[in-house]
Symmetry: C2
Subunit: 264 residues, 2 copies
């Protein structure tokens, strides 16, 4: 695996957990077969199955959190109190199905939360080492495309699920180009850095807090917006049963147009 290119000045807790995650991910890819990596070894705190690759990377993150003395909120382990005012909210392996299949689209995504407020985020693409760091209230080093309309847009979509097929196809028919990469955290990072114009879950309410919290910091810092399709507030919460339909867009105008297109 290429080394994670973590930006200078990244909070040590984010940097340490991202490095631990990248290392564990690389070792797991070397040690286990694809079939072993995607074997479901447990049921996570969020109610979804935990693949072996998720478990291995989360264990490495947990260890790093103890070392640097921060709490952890993670999809598999739930809330782990290490007696700190700071909590890392982390998706250890976003795109685990990609990772387990050998499709090189998977990443670490985490946010540092102080007193229930996300203040800094870091996303690290395991397969390339590229990283995106951002802080609330500071302009990021990268910018969205600035596109304001769905006509001509490149849009990433969550795969269609039962009940969202029509909304999915309405977006696909309006946009210029559609991709389904199966990694929300990386797809929202692509929106932030201007590789694509937008990303959307067209109403399946699939997203958990850790799927969106890094984007909640990163996309606005790059000039874009992160919204919920139905206007529910995106906020830090220890209740891992909450779900959202996240929309990341290069501009508020594009975000609004995506939402109205999805809602029909």
């Amino acid at each position: 695996m290429p080394e994670a290119q973590i930006p200078v000045g990244t909070h040590p807790a984010l940097a340490a957990t991202a490095r631990a995650a990248a290392r564990a991910y690389g070792e797991a890819r070397g040690r286990y077969t694809r079939l072993e990596l995607r074997e479901e070894v447990a049921l996570g705190a969020d109610g979804t199955p935990t693949m072996r690759v998720d478990r291995i990377v989360e264990d490495a993150i947990l260890e790093a959190c103890v070392e640097v003395g921060v709490n952890l909120l993670s999809e598999e382990a739930g809330f782990v109190d290490n007696g700190s005012a700071a909590t890392l909210c982390i998706d250890p392996v976003d795109g685990s199905a990609n990772a387990a299949l050998g499709v090189p689209l998977s990443c670490y995504a985490g946010a540092l939360v102080l007193d229930s407020e996300p203040v800094e985020a870091l996303t690290v693409w395991f397969d390339t080492g590229r990283a995106w760091g951002a802080r609330v209230g500071e302009a990021a080093a990268f910018r969205t495309t600035g596109r304001t309309s769905l006509d001509g847009a490149s849009v990433c979509l969550l795969r269609p699920k039962r009940g969202t097929e029509e909304a999915w196809m309405r977006v696909a028919n309006r946009a210029d180009r559609i991709r389904v990469l199966c990694t929300t955290c990386l797809e929202t990072a692509f929106v932030a850095e201007g590789a694509v114009d937008a990303f959307a879950d067209p109403g399946s309410d699939t997203h958990r807090l850790m799927d969106l919290i890094a984007a909640l910091v990163t996309v606005p810092a790059a000039g874009g917006v992160l919204l919920d399709l139905r206007g529910r507030p995106l906020e830090f919460d220890l209740d891992l049963t909450r779900r959202w339909s996240g929309i990341a867009a290069a501009t508020p105008e594009l975000g609004d147009e995506l939402i109205s297109t999805i809602l029909g």
Copy 2:
């Protein structure tokens, strides 16, 4: 760019053009902005617009073909006769839109054709250096997943186009996981190496010869099949107006099930 990991024993004409393509692609990514890379600079021999990134990489391939003394059939240049019995049929940059946008899913894909018969193929993923080589009549070093049914399958699809929406959604609803990566040559290589179970154009007749000819050699050499949705023969032809709807599948059974699902 990582160096292309071209297998030992690859035909020198394929190896030389792939190396030239990878080098030119890396240089173009360094020299031009994303906007410049995707600027349409000409209309190709196949009737589709040529982006600057396509042009740059094809120029490098053309030069390599003259040096090694083989003919070239390419989407932008058409047929270039260098007085040889051997012709390389090449897609210089498959996934050019990805390449131009910074989505790291783009590749070189070529086949060596002797007397109208494809005999060897090479696919090189620019962004990672990974390469897949195969020869007609020889088992490749990689295998498909061997999956025989669409239930539980991971399927890559061409993005839905007007008129194929229903067929597209029938496949999406049957398969376990859908991806749209916008790079046919890489997606068929993923089928060959068992990262996904199948790839399909659900009837839009988008594929040209150079989108499929590497897969025509590579997928069967790995135990899978490459078919046209409507049973049209996939064959070498200098007529670049011909189109197909390519289906790559881990097994003949899965290919047949995909076709019957698409045709409804």
